[in-house]
């Protein structure tokens, strides 16, 4: 049993334990890498991968960690966005057994936003095994895009996650409820990608938004820069503010965020749609950033 999962500690005590000599070095390396993945994945570089490799972590483990983190990103946002209380058989709650209000780690050691220039000379920063690109994936990718996206090529060492990523990309194609407009959906994807500084899906989210509204990209960029989305409709502003809160601090979501949706004529299904579009896009952006996946030559827009 590791010391930092004993009850009665606050966030700072846990952080001290993570940094202490009492846990294995490989655990410390994982914690540090996942911290960057969570707080600012765009700051990660090939040097961070090299540090893990030098510490005895294999390429396969690194890719596995990135994929586990991708799925957990969705669970975190589903929990906080849905107002789910701690329960006995919760994944981390069962291990920690602590009152969650003690743990606002997001307010501790917050990293500044990074504009790191990243070089990706190859397909990604991690090894791959192309034999895991099976005919089913090739057929699916060929029908949709005409090529196998680098996202899959870079994740071949964790090929078990392919069906998760396939469904993720299908869900991101369009809203999954009738309550959220297609343009609103495209705005959410683009905003989230920009906030995550997601290099891999940059052109895809630009092109998807342009298909819905050619002017929206410029307005969105201005809105982010000025912290003011007044150029958009009241509904759009509520949707964008919620998506932004989820990306930055999902734990700050409250029931009032749902009420804002209802107040502007949206409904709970639209709320769930924005919640999932944000969490899925974020999970893909951060995974691609963390593994240094080179953008494809064409956007991932269905043919």
């Amino acid at each position: 049993m590791l010391p930092f999962i004993y009850p009665g500690q606050d966030a700072k005590a846990i952080l001290e334990d993570v940094q202490s000599a009492s846990i294995p070095d490989v655990h410390k390396l994982m914690f540090n890498w996942i911290e960057s993945f969570t707080r600012d994945s765009s700051s990660l570089t090939q040097g961070d991968i090299n540090k893990l490799l030098q510490g005895g972590v294999s390429h396969q483990e690194i890719v596995e960690w990135a994929n586990i983190a991708a799925t957990q990103t969705w669970f975190v946002m589903s929990a906080d966005g849905g107002g789910i209380p701690l329960e006995g058989n919760a994944v981390t709650g069962s291990v920690i057994g602590l009152e969650r209000e003690k743990y606002h780690a997001a307010e501790v050691l917050t990293s500044p936003a990074s504009d790191t220039e990243v070089q990706i000379n190859d397909l990604s920063w991690v090894d791959r095994d192309d034999s895991h690109i099976g005919s089913e994936l090739k057929d699916w990718a060929s029908r949709r895009y005409g090529f196998v996206p680098n996202f899959f090529m870079a994740n071949t060492l964790a090929a078990g996650y392919f069906r998760r990523h396939i469904l993720a990309l299908e869900l991101l194609d369009q809203p999954q409820s009738k309550s959220l407009g297609v343009e609103q959906h495209a705005l959410v994807r683009r905003l989230v990608n920009r906030l995550n500084k997601g290099r891999y899906f940059d052109q895809t989210t630009v092109d998807y938004l342009k298909c819905q509204n050619p002017q929206a990209e410029v307005l969105l960029a201005q809105g982010i820069a000025q912290g003011d989305f007044s150029a958009f409709t009241e509904q759009d502003r509520v949707v964008l503010a919620f998506a932004e809160k989820l990306v930055k601090n999902a734990y700050k979501v409250t029931a009032s965020d749902v009420k804002r949706f209802l107040d502007v004529g949206l409904d709970e299904e639209a709320y769930v749609d924005v919640l999932n579009t944000t969490s899925i896009q974020t999970s893909m952006d951060r995974t691609a950033n963390a593994l240094g996946i080179k953008p494809d030559e064409k956007s991932l827009i269905v043919k």
């Binding site: 846990i14 294995p24 655990h27 994982m30 914690f31 996942i34 911290e35 969570t38 005895g56 483990e61 596995e64 960690w65 586990i68 799925t71 957990q72 969705w74 669970f75 975190v76 589903s78 929990a79 906080d80 849905g82 107002g83 789910i84 209380p85 701690l86 329960e87 058989n89 919760a90 994944v91 981390t92 709650g93 602590l98 969650r100 606002h104 780690a105 997001a106 307010e107 078990g160 996650y161 069906r163 469904l167 993720a168 869900l171 999954q176 409820s177 601090n249 999902a250 734990y251 979501v253 029931a255 965020d257 749902v258 709970e268 299904e269 769930v272 749609d273 919640l275 999932n276 899925i280």
Partner: protein
């Protein structure tokens, strides 16, 4: 008190019912006792496509509910914990 309307496990039908059964069965196997589907999945019951996504992620993480993956240097749950920790989410 959760924020949005949810479909109860016993009232689910169609694909929602199937996914509930899978996730509940997966956790029951892991815990060696019958447990209901964890609430974190139920945020998405009113849009079943997203509930399906949660079920698929459980399938991926557990090898289709078998829970027989090889242990690595770092337990998967510790990676989950780290991400939750830095998100201030301790669900």
């Amino acid at each position: 008190m959760t924020y949005i309307t949810r479909v109860a496990e016993e009232e689910a039908t169609g694909s929602l019912k199937q996914d509930f059964e899978f996730v509940s069965g997966s956790y029951s196997k892991a815990m060696n006792m019958k447990v209901p589907t964890p609430q974190v999945y139920t945020t998405n019951t009113i849009v079943p496509a997203y509930f399906r996504f949660g079920a698929v992620q459980n399938r991926v993480l557990t090898n289709d509910g078998q829970h027989d993956q090889k242990p690595g240097q770092v337990p998967n749950i510790l990676v989950n914990f780290a991400l939750s920790f830095y998100s201030s989410c301790f669900y």
